[in-house]
């Protein structure tokens, strides 16, 4: 019958209209700024830098190896190495980024920087309220804005973060065991140990195999490349 479908459609919308006042199923809207939907754990948008401990500058995991900068497809990461060094989580002295900017107006959320980072220093964030009234400066996030604590990382991606933590702890334990072994057998490797502590050229290759052994997807030859200034 001509016009039957129209009546059916009208009945459906009327049901929706009336139902929205009584049925929770027919009105699933959330009042956004006050109420927020829980994002799925795997959701991501822009990268951030993880730091350990209470002090962001001291705890920053990034060693300014610049792999992410080189791998970034839209080239939105800008890194400047520091002149001095600071100890990393195992206590080794490392370079740190004097400047680490990400232009999130360019970033395309591909997560490649996270995949390539050998130090688990850069991770994807879930923060989506990023609007700003300054479209050039406001969307260029600097080191301090990017730095977020490991606890925050645990909060947004719990399973991934614990996995990373486990890996780091294993690494640290290995490094400590190595140091202990070095301390236990002092006569022979007396010379390399101070060298490792003193010169960066030997410190970096030593840390790299450790990371490479746990992370299979990261190519081992990457850290040596970092040594050659480009």
């Amino acid at each position: 019958m001509l016009g039957e479908g129209i009546l059916k459609g009208l009945a459906e919308t009327a049901k929706n209209f009336a139902g929205s006042f009584v049925d929770k199923e027919r009105l699933t809207t959330v009042e956004y700024p006050e109420q927020k939907l829980e994002l799925p754990e795997a959701s991501r948008n822009f990268p951030f830098l993880v730091y350990d401990g209470p002090e962001w500058q001291a705890g920053l995991r990034c060693v300014a190896c610049q792999i992410c900068e080189k791998e970034c497809p839209p080239k939105c990461i800008y890194i400047e190495k520091s002149k001095d060094k600071k100890p990393d989580f195992v206590g080794k002295l490392q370079i740190y980024p004097a400047k680490f900017d990400i232009d999130i107006s360019v970033c395309m959320s591909c997560q490649i920087c996270v995949e390539v980072c050998p130090f688990d220093a850069i991770k994807m964030d879930k923060e989506y309220e990023l609007s700003t009234d300054d479209r050039f400066g406001g969307l260029l996030l600097d080191r301090q804005q990017l730095a977020k604590s490991n606890e925050y990382y645990h909060k947004i991606h719990p399973t991934e973060a614990s996995e990373v933590d486990g890996r780091l702890a294993e690494e640290k334990a290995k490094a400590e065991a190595k140091a202990k072994a070095a301390a236990a057998a002092p006569p022979k490797p007396a010379a390399p140990a101070p060298a490792a502590a003193a010169t960066p050229a030997s410190a970096a290759p030593k840390a790299a195999p450790a990371a490479g052994s746990t992370k299979t997807e990261v190519p081992p030859p990457a850290p040596p490349k970092e040594g050659e200034a480009r």
């Binding site: 019958m1 001509l2 016009g3 459906e12 009327a14 929706n16 209209f17 929205s20 809207t29």
Partner: protein, 391 residues
């Protein structure tokens, strides 16, 4: 007391006019009536926009505006301030004079349509002998303003939208007129006041509205379809189909002129609803004889708002038609049915009282509807669509 409440606006006007001398009084009287129309309908427009957005929201499982004021009822105020403070942009290559005139012509012409609508007992600006003809003559002029808007913008989307709008409005004006002519035939007058008075009678407490007769019901349905198309409302909103034409003929308008187009569209809706109410739903007459004590203007405005709500409901339900479907529907279905309906109305007029005319008239109309509907459904013109590659 009841009578006073019914006539309160008329009495108020007479009192004010009485205070002034002679010719000035008459002038002020006209000015007051015009001011009432110019104040009431834009007010209703503001109310309707928020009603529409909230109603559509509910139909689509969302809430709709609820931030500005309690329950979002101040949303039109915010919209108004926004559109007034926006920059008024005129495209460089646009025909500036025509571009400027188009929204003005539209709004003025649409406002003129209200002057013949009886909005209550003794409440009309002019009781014209040819009121219905005036209404349609004025309504026909809106097409030109739409063309002016589309052409002067020098934008292909605007021009396409305008051409679509004009083609659609011309096509649906014919069934619109034809379905109203049935009412004129029965009433024997083009005066809208007389048409309402003819319906303001009751047998057993039930009104003599034309919608309660077979030909009137059919004419009302056809009138509603044609009026929806005439006011460019969904599902006939091709002229401003935002998915293909940005905003149709008012793509290149911004700020206050855009608001004027928006206002014109809604005022067109009001005047069409008012006309439909007057022709088929008994105008300002009460739906039951016992409810006659309620002021007549309340009935008129509640009927208009009810039809607006139905229009919003339709908008929330039906998808947009395609251009060829639109034209086929107008010329191959609605127009023949209105012509048949004219014949039925004539039968009704000359068959005298009794049950026989009810049976004969309903049988003819229903038979035609079923036959035409079956044929069209079989030809898959309006029926469920099949897709060549989807299955």
């Amino acid at each position: 007391m009841i009578n006073t409440l019914d006539q309160i606006f008329v009495l108020l006007k007479h009192w004010i006019v009485g205070l002034l001398p002679g010719s000035l009084g008459a002038f002020v009287g006209i000015l007051l009536s015009v001011a009432a129309i110019v104040a009431v309908f834009p007010g209703l427009f503001a109310l309707t926009t928020v009603l529409e957005r909230k109603g559509l929201g509910r139909m689509q499982n969302r809430i709709g505006p609820n931030r500005t004021g309690p329950y979002g009822i101040l949303q039109p105020v915010a919209d108004g301030i926004k559109s007034l403070t926006k920059e008024d942009i005129v495209p460089v290559s646009a025909d500036a004079a025509v571009h400027f005139l188009a929204p003005l012509v539209l709004v003025v012409v649409v406002f003129m349509g209200f002057s013949v609508l009886p909005m209550g007992r003794n409440m009309q600006l002019v009781d014209m002998d040819a009121g219905l003809l005036f209404f349609f003559a004025i309504g026909a002029s809106t097409e030109l303003s739409i063309f002016m808007a589309g052409w002067s913008s020098r934008n292909k989307y605007s021009l396409l939208g305008a051409m679509r709008a004009v083609a659609q409005m011309i096509s649906y004006e014919v069934p619109l007129l034809m379905s109203s002519v049935a009412v004129v035939m029965i009433t024997g007058s083009l005066s809208l006041v007389k048409i309402v008075e003819a319906q303001n009678q009751y047998t057993w407490g039930l009104p003599h509205w034309y919608i309660f007769t077979p030909w009137g019901c059919a004419a009302f349905v056809m009138f509603a379809i044609a009026a929806t198309a005439e006011t460019n409302r969904s599902p006939f909103d091709l002229p401003e189909g935002e998915s293909e034409l940005v905003a149709g003929y008012f793509t290149e308008y911004s700020g206050f002129k855009f608001a004027l187009f928006f206002l014109g569209e809604y005022l067109g809706m009001f005047s069409m609803s008012g006309l439909g109410t007057t022709l088929f739903l008994g105008g300002w007459s009460a739906p039951l004889a016992v409810l006659n004590s309620v002021p007549s203007w309340i009935w008129f405005f509640s009927k208009v708002m009810l039809s607006i709500c139905v229009l919003i409901w339709l908008r929330g339900t039906l998808p947009r038609l395609r251009q060829d479907q639109l034209m086929n529907f107008a010329w191959k279905f609605v127009l023949p049915m209105t012509l048949l309906n004219l014949f039925v109305a004539a039968l009704w007029r000359f068959m005298g009282d009794g049950l026989l005319r009810w049976i004969v008239c309903s049988a003819i109309l229903l038979g035609a509807y079923v036959v035409v509907g079956r044929t069209e459904m079989r030809r898959k013109q309006y029926g469920p669509r099949s897709y060549r590659y989807a299955e």
